[in-house]
Symmetry: C2
Subunit: 101 residues, 2 copies
């Protein structure tokens, strides 16, 4: 029984460690997003989309589309122009890992 | 004590009834969305956004932008052209009321 409890505890710790490893650090450029898209991508403004939990591939494409002018928005186009491919990838992965509230 | 339990149960039932009242019925046109955006807006395809839990005002604007050509996508533009303002409002409210998974 003791072994079972120990195994359960150890596996719990491993799951917890994995969950932490999978959670990306907040990218520096996320500071630009928080005003409209809220804390960790949970926008509280109905006009601005929630990004939390959104597929990374989708968010990445939107940022690139804004940057390259395929999708147009006076605010987003400006912000996206200042992002590298790497920064876009980081932002998209970060928001995908958040929980929608 | 009995009164307290009864009050708690009644208030529980009322909350439950309200929660049901707030959940919009699945709009007929949602049948067009399910292929890409998944069951109740929980897309499992990384390229297609999750709509579940998204702000209704945002989803509504995107559908109108697709319909009127401000936002362009070969698939979405076609679908949106077939939607009335009322249908767009219903779809946006329906997806906003779903829980993101």
């Amino acid at each position: 029984m003791k072994k079972l409890i120990l195994a359960a505890l150890t596996s719990g710790l491993m799951v917890s460690a994995n969950a932490q490893a999978e959670m990306p650090a907040t990218p520096a450029k996320a500071a630009m997003c928080i005003g409209c898209h809220g804390e960790a991508g949970n926008s509280v403004v109905p006009n601005f989309p929630k990004l939390a939990g959104q597929h990374a591939a989708y968010t990445e494409k939107q940022l690139k589309d804004f940057r390259e002018g395929y999708r147009k928005d006076p605010v987003m186009s400006g912000f996206a122009k200042g992002l590298t491919d790497e920064e876009i990838k980081e932002l998209a992965a970060y928001y995908a890992a958040q929980t929608q509230k």
